[in-house]
Each structure stands twice: as C-alpha cells, then as structure tokens.
Symmetry: C2
Subunit: 259 residues, 2 copies
Amino acid sequence: MPNDALIARPDLARIKVACTNCTLYQLCLPVGMGDPELALLEDIIKVKRPLARSQHLYQMGDSFTSLYAVRSGSLKTYALTEDGREQVTGFHLPGELVGLDAISSERHHCAARALETTSVCEIPFDRFEDLWVRIPSLPHQLLRVMSKEMRHDQTLLMLLGKKAAEERLAAFLVNLAGRFGQRGFSSREYNLSMSRNDIGNYLGLAVETVSRLFTHFQELNLLNVHRKSVQLLDLPALQALAGVSEPPPDTRAGQGGRV
Amino acid sequence: MPNDALIARPDLARIKVACTNCTLYQLCLPVGMGDPELALLEDIIKVKRPLARSQHLYQMGDSFTSLYAVRSGSLKTYALTEDGREQVTGFHLPGELVGLDAISSERHHCAARALETTSVCEIPFDRFEDLWVRIPSLPHQLLRVMSKEMRHDQTLLMLLGKKAAEERLAAFLVNLAGRFGQRGFSSREYNLSMSRNDIGNYLGLAVETVSRLFTHFQELNLLNVHRKSVQLLDLPALQALAGVSEPPPDTRAGQGGRV
DNA sequence: CGAATCCTTGAACACCTTCAACAGGGGTGG
DNA sequence: CCACCCCTGTTGAAGGTGTTCAAGGATTCG
C-alpha cells in the first residue's frame, strides 16, 4: 500500500527531507507554516532508513531523543504489562507523530514497531525545541497534535470501557476508513497492515472474537474481508454500529484523528 | 479533606494568585521556575470562585479559553457516548491540570465537574501562549504535563484492555494512595471524593462489581472501607494485585502520575 | 515441500453484568 | 427533633457476552 515514491532509498538516508514537497505536510507538523519556517524545520529533520516489517523504531525503556513522523507504511505502539503481555496503544499511519508520550520522562514507555516496510522522519527533540524561539507557532502546533492524541486515547477509553465487541470493531474499521480517506486512499477498500491479534489486543478482545466478528459482519453484508483486505459495503450501517461520533474533521488540520 | 486555607473566599475571586506561596507549585506548572518567571505567570493566572459539589467547571462543547489547575478539592472529567452515557476519563487532584485535550479543536470534548467543593486557578490560554517568548521553559513544561497525561491514559487503556476487575480496583486505589502521598496527605488512609458509580464507570465495571470487590478486599484484610473512607491495610499486596508498575517517581517533577 | 504463523470455527466455561430487593445515610420538611 | 424520602451503596441470583481451550484450514516463506 505505501507509496513507493515516498520511501527513501537506503543510500539517501540521513539526507534532508523536503517537507515542502511532502504530500503529507498538511497532516503533519508543519501545518500552515510559511516557506522560511519550513526551511528551518527541514534543516533539522532527517529521513531514516526505512524499517522492515517487525523492526522496532524504538524499544520500551529507550531514552527519548526524537519524535518521529510516519512518511509511509505504518507502525504500532504498544506497552507491556508487568507480566510481559502487550497492550497495543495505537496504529500510526503516514502523517502521524509517534513518541510524544516520552517527552515527560525522557524515556520511552511504549515501543514502536513497523507493521510493514515503513519510512519515518526523525525530529531531534532538542534541536526542535531550539526552533521554538524562531518559529513561535511550532510549540502550539505540537500541542495541538498532542491534544488530538489525548482525544484519541479518550475515544479508545470509551470503546474499552463502554462498548460491546461489535461496536469496538465497527468503530475501528470506520475510523481507519476515515484516515485512509484523508490520505487520498479509498475509504471503502483498504488493507489492514496489522494482524487480527493486534486488532484484538488494541480493542481489548480475544483474537477469536475479532475473527468471529469479521465473519459476522460479512454475514450481515456490512463488509467483505479476506485476509488483510477489507471492503466496506455499508459504511452508514457500520457507523451506526460504531456509535458514529466521527469527530468533526477539524478543518484546522493537524494529524488525522485516530480511533 | 481539602485544605481550607487554600480555598479562596468568594470575595477574593479573580484576585491574583501567589504561585510563589502555593504549596502545590512543585506539582503544578511552574516547576523549577525562578522568581521573575513566577511573577509573570502569576500575572495572568486568576483564582476562580470555588465550585460547589457537582458544579461544572466547563461543559462538553464549551469553547476552550483556559486551562485550569486544581488548587483544592477534586474534579472528574468525563465524555458522553452518542447515546448519552458517561465515560469518566479522569479524576483530578490538587496540582493537576485539566482542559488540555481541548487545545487542538478549541472546544471542550469532555466536561469537568466538581466532586466536592473545589477551587481552581484559571490560566487563560492565549495570554499563556504570549508568555512563551519570555519564558521559553513554559511550553516545555506544558508538554511534559501533557506527555504525562498521555501516559496516564495509556495506563488506563491497559487496565481496561487487559486487566480483570480485581486488578483494576487495586490499581486505582494504589494510584490514589500515591497521589495523596505526593500531596502531603496520608497514603494509607484517605477519602474517596467520587461515588462508587464514578469509580465503576472509570474502571469499566458495574457499580455492583465495585461494591463486591470492596467487600472482597475487606474479607482478605487488604483494606477497610466504610462509605467514602478507605484505609489500606496491606499496600504491598494491593500493589501486587494491581500489577504494581508504579511509575518511577519521575524526580523531575511535573504533575503526579495518575492511573 | 514442510514448518511456522496466522486465521477460523466449535464447545465449555468464567467472569462480570443485569435484574431485583434491601439497607443505610443525609437532607428536607413538617 | 423526628419522620420521611431519596439517593447511594450493598447483597443475592440468573443470565449473557466474550474468553479459553482445542483443533483444523489457509498462507507465507525458507
């Protein structure tokens, strides 16, 4: 699914990234920035060598040095319970920032792992902070992204705390549809880069339940699913099931809302 | 339980607050700030008239103008599902900030409601942003608070997604203990300002389950509970049940971690 | 081709919820 | 000051939703 043109070739790693030309810039940090500011930002941002599937961007406990913006591919972030089980805290599509939760303790409390071949921009945080005096809108921009992230977490909290299994999966699928749509992909038909296991984990359900729900939704003609590929046949019905609440698209931009 | 000395009398409302003399300043925003910076901050902060129990600080949908820091008492924040049910997203003790999730859309998506007589400092956000050029550490400070809040949400996600009812309540009680301790109150004995209903709602459990768990914990001699008052008899056992993971106290301060 | 992994399906069970009834405070009004 | 009422909290029993356990099928990759 990732747009190959966006994936930096290994030999180009660490080269400056042109936010100016990045199709994601309206989803990413530099929302509404002018050219001079963009140039300053581009100066400190590095494109990292693409991650292969299941490679880690950072591990739990790693010291925090940078934020990362997804360019192509996708990531999952997850924490570990003390007994070693995983809790997936989010899936991250192109244009979204990861690592925000590590700012306070300067250490990562989640790990980030590529679900497929994935390319990210690295934003060294100390240099990023240095920019704030010259680009005063930057911290505000970052705050907006974080604030949005908090709303995502709250939506998820609501899913886990109040919703039944059906509603959770429906909400998940509808949300993904919206995010793919925002990125110029079809919102009716897309590929799941994460496993059933990850989905279940994320939604607080057993894998078996997720599987059963997929077949159930298919029997209701709400969607077709085969392996990773999903085709939503009755979006309105799914939205209804999910308890809609698609947040108003927040025209002022920033990263796309995640379920 | 609130410290009466901290509650502004109504006639003093809107008067400047002395962060300098506030016993909470090391839990609140002005962590590690010098006197001149504190003075600037105090300039824009107003103490609001105390809220009576069950009064709202802001409602869902209200436009966002200010952040609020709890001075005394406590608040709950909650969102509504589309069918009108409540999801409690957090309880907020003195020294903690609320309203952060509204920055991105300039509109509140949660409501904040006083659980008891509660006094807060109002921080008008636009004036607060104006301060950033003169106090460059301020946005960083705010980011740290938000980042911490994100970790709180992730902990809660883990509770709701992975933990059984016992573990959830134990984690909740242990966390409260820690937060009271940080504020100079006893961490072995405290009062719950929230109802069983709110606790259950927050933890994704039915009220009845919470009630049963309390009696169950009592039978195990883990605690005594009567009405609102809780006395933890075997903190280690409760921590074990909770799956401990008390975050390392994060000496660099900021607001106390919430479960 | 074989191994490993992921996904699906079935059946029994467990945990928590729901429904229901009751107890105990706390506040209000007589 | 007492009686009453409402709300919150407690306890019991039945029921359901999702889990767990188990096994079989599909897909990928060496």
